[in-house]
């Protein structure tokens, strides 16, 4: 790739800067071949064009906008020091100031970044951590969703989950399901013998019968206490 076009990721998408000493038709052609050479990378992209002092007429800018549109690329704004270019951009309905774009775009961005998506009861099964090995003493796992372990959870290992905990193996460590207070959370294991089991604000320990036969069990909260029954 030559250096006549530089790309930079910004909050609003991509900032495209053109080198001033290359003619507009030429720069248009180079930009299109750059997009075409990158496969689907630009598909759906929003670009801001930094044109500098170059004077670009309306039809020239419109031409580039059309070519970009055909490639699935939307022009958000044109940044230029030239009044002619700024006028061209405005006539095409494009913004000429990045800060106005920023102001409008940022609330949307922040919402996506800061707020975790609300846990919809019907969607809860989709989030979680899958551990495909034995969790040994001293290992810890936390998930804002569910935790599934394919292996044993040995004494000394700790699992915490906002949702459920499923262990396809022996559960001997400490486990806390529904850490954010979800009393509907459950803990299931092929052999349920945790050092300590917590669901939401409830806490219990395993009954003391060493010679019991391991069987799949499910623990949950019923009538304000944790109970376990056969997991079927």
């Amino acid at each position: 790739m030559d250096d006549s076009i530089t790309l930079k990721g910004i909050k609003q998408g991509l900032l495209v800067t053109f080198k001033p000493d290359i003619k507009w038709p030429d720069i248009t052609a180079r930009f299109m071949s750059l997009i075409d050479s990158q496969g689907s990378f630009f598909q759906g992209a929003h670009v801001t064009l930094a044109i500098g002092e170059r004077e670009v007429r309306r039809h020239e800018l419109a031409n580039m906008q059309n070519l970009l549109l055909k490639r699935g690329v939307t022009v958000l704004a044109v940044i230029s020091d030239s009044p002619t270019t700024q006028a061209s951009a405005r006539k095409l309905g494009l913004k000429t100031d990045l800060t106005t774009v920023e102001m409008e775009a940022s609330p949307v961005d922040d919402e996506v970044v800061l707020k975790p998506p609300p846990i919809d009861p019907e969607e809860r099964g989709t989030e979680g951590v899958l551990v495909r090995r034995t969790l040994r003493n001293g290992r810890t796992i936390h998930s804002e969703g569910h935790v599934v372990v394919m292996g044993d959870v040995n004494a000394g290992a700790v699992i915490t989950a906002v949702g459920d905990v499923i262990v396809w193996g022996r559960l001997r460590g400490t486990v806390h399901a529904g850490v954010r207070g979800d009393e509907a959370a459950v803990v299931c294991a092929l052999d349920l013998a945790p050092t300590q089991l917590r669901i939401a604000g409830h806490i219990t320990i395993s009954p003391e019968d060493r010679r019991r036969k391991p069987k799949p069990e499910k623990a949950f909260v019923r009538n304000g206490r944790i109970e376990a029954e056969a997991w079927e």
């Binding site: 003493n137 001293g138 000394g156």
Partner: protein, 271 residues
């Protein structure tokens, strides 16, 4: 290719790491292998005592790392067997005197000339353990049939498994008392394997002779005594060389141990 570096570790102290290292080193040397043991327990060295080489130490591991002597000068030759050397730990320094990179460099220097390099790891999971683990091609975890020792072994295995490079880990269960297991008062080999689920390299019965030989500085495997524990260590050494030796698995179930004990005239089964 050169030597295989085997680190002997446990997490918990006092389970028999040093005893195992000394006995395996002697047993391997008696199988005509060229062996070096490195005591990585800097500040609390014991391997030299158990091997009976304490009074012949001039330089140590830290002297080598800090360039005060050549590697050859620090190595103490055990004259009782053909090709066995000890690289002792420093007693007056703390373990931060050596880094994991130092250990890797040191073992790489030794590799071409030996068949086995055994590293006796200190207890714990900190610096000393990291030093001992860094150059390992293979790790032998020693544990006792006792809940706290098994917990620590589990922790160690977890730490080794979390390493980026895959290091094979196997288990030696030391100090198994057949009679207690039979009565259900001690974890059995299968109880331990249930929790740790790694390759079982061997089982060593509890034996007073081990303590006696450690105190004398003459590892059990050195004398061709017909002692169960010595036999068990020799079997482990043969397994390390790739030989298929059946595990004396039944010994803690009682039957075989009693028969073998009678055969060897050991008093172990009545303990």
């Amino acid at each position: 290719m050169g030597a295989r570096v085997i680190t002997v570790t446990s997490g918990k102290g006092g389970v028999g790491k040093t005893t195992a290292t000394a006995n395996l080193a002697v047993a391997l040397a008696l199988l005509d292998k060229k062996v070096v043991c490195i005591d990585a327990d800097i500040g609390l060295r014991n391997l030299d005592v158990v091997m009976g080489l304490e009074n012949r130490i001039v330089y140590d591991l830290v002297d080598v790392v800090e360039g005060r002597c050549k590697l050859r000068q620090a190595m103490v030759k055990d004259k009782r067997v053909p090709d066995l050397y000890l690289l002792p730990a420093a007693q007056t320094r703390d373990k931060t005197a050596v880094s994991p990179q130092d250990m890797v460099a040191l073992t790489n220097q030794l590799r071409p000339d030996y068949d086995y390099i055994l590293i006796d790891s200190p207890a714990g999971i900190e610096w000393g353990f990291r030093n001992a683990l860094a150059p390992a091609d293979e790790v032998v975890v020693v544990t006792n049939p006792e809940v706290s020792a098994v917990r620590d072994a589990d922790r160690i295995v977890g730490l080794i498994e979390a390493e980026e490079r895959k290091i094979p880990v196997s288990l030696v269960i030391n100090r198994v008392k057949a009679a207690m297991v039979q009565r259900g008062d001690m974890l059995s080999v299968s109880d331990v394997m249930d929790i740790l689920s790694i390759r079982l390299l061997g089982v060593i019965p509890e034996d007073e002779n081990i303590l006696v030989s450690s105190n004398k500085g003459s590892p059990l495997t050195l004398n061709n005594q017909t002692v169960m524990a010595g036999e068990a260590f020799r079997n482990i050494a043969r397994r390390l060389t790739g030989e298929k030796v059946p595990l004396l698995k039944l010994e803690q179930k009682g039957g075989l141990l009693k028969r073998l004990s009678r055969l060897f005239g050991s008093s172990d089964s009545t303990a």
